[in-house]
Point group: C2
Chain length 222, copies 2
């Protein structure tokens, strides 16, 4: 029997970090449980979807009891690859790159920032969070020496594709793009985008609908 009998759908993968955050926040004492209905409410999906998503992890809960929080947290973490560290290089050391390098949530969740890259001469050689900014030409060496697997693109939009190409040439196989532009990568390289305005658009939906229908309101605890 194969080790991984079913491929997990991408939509499920994108919900796993949300379940992870909810489970971390639920925390609680040993043996604490959570129902699929409660998870669904907190995640903003329906309970059947939660049960289906978690079934891909081999987690089925117990009827009338739900899921054991601690064990489910372990299962989701393991599935997401969070039982090991994934060293990250940040390219673009402007305000955003520096903010990302500062962001405590990266290191604490298994994404240590191991290098900062920028081709701006006024930045090369300066220090930030204990790292010395290096030029793009250093990428191939940095990627090998620090076992970097994820490249974070925090450059202006105009530079993002070239930087991405350089990251891929250097051997990085996953790119997280913060630049407000569309990037392409070769087959076999994973690419995700963070759109900082996306959540604002969700808020504007509720703002507008508040005016027309005051009852509409999103979850009040996130």
């Amino acid at each position: 029997m194969p080790d991984r009998p079913r491929r997990i759908p991408e939509a499920t993968v994108t919900r796993l970090p949300i379940y992870l955050r909810i489970l971390s926040e639920l925390g609680g004492e040993r043996g604490a449980t959570v129902s699929s209905e409660r998870l669904a409410e907190l995640a903003g999906v329906n309970a059947a979807k939660v049960r289906k998503d978690l079934s891909y992890l081999g987690s089925y809960g117990t009827r009338g009891v739900g899921y054991e929080v601690e064990y489910l947290l372990f299962q989701v973490s393991r599935e997401l690859g969070l039982t090991q560290d994934w060293p990250v290089v940040i390219v673009g050391v402007g305000n955003l790159g520096r903010a990302l390098a500062d962001y405590a949530g990266f290191t604490s969740r298994g994404f240590p920032v191991v290098a900062l890259i920028d081709d701006d001469r006024s930045k090369i050689g300066t220090e930030h969070v204990g790292l010395t900014v290096q030029p793009v030409a250093d990428l191939p060496r940095v990627v090998v020496e620090r076992a970097v697997t994820i490249g974070v693109v925090a450059t202006p939009p105009g530079a993002a594709q070239e930087v991405t190409d350089r990251l891929v040439s250097a051997g990085v196989t996953a790119i997280l793009n913060f630049a407000p532009t569309v990037l392409t990568v070769p087959e076999g390289v994973s690419l995700r985008k963070v759109d900082l305005a996306l959540e604002l658009q969700i808020l504007s939906f509720y703002q507008q609908h508040r005016e027309s229908a005051p009852s509409a309101s999103p979850a009040r605890r996130t």
Copy 2:
């Protein structure tokens, strides 16, 4: 007959900005169409879900043809409240707050940053992107004078709840939280969170599964 016969589920609302981005990127000439299958592929959901989501907007497409891109773009924008501007105040003018103030994607998509707030004496009175940093005590006046509806919290986690309370007292009814902490707001205030590490967790899933099953790979264009 009521103006808004069905309340749009929260899960659908969270997908609308994704459809919006895809439709904007598709662009194309007048009269260009897109199938629900293609939209689904680009959004990482299934086609039935796309059709259901868009049906809440009163958009049903044409069998064998799909949806007209330009009109659907208008419908999604209108539903998200993007046919008007929503002035934003950013609280916390560190690297992240400055990066958000710089972020071209805010203003261009209808979220002009109209004020920067920070209680750090070394920051008050300094200028960034044409705005003078003001103290938290100015919030009530700024919110009224600039018709602010959305507050962006970009403070360290320890200050985020107090700042949120001050924003709410000042009359802000939507909060976007970038601080890696859980916030609570009163009934009637919308709250969303941006977790900068979430997409990294999705990438680590694919990195891990690449090692165990090289065929697993997310969409390569985002």
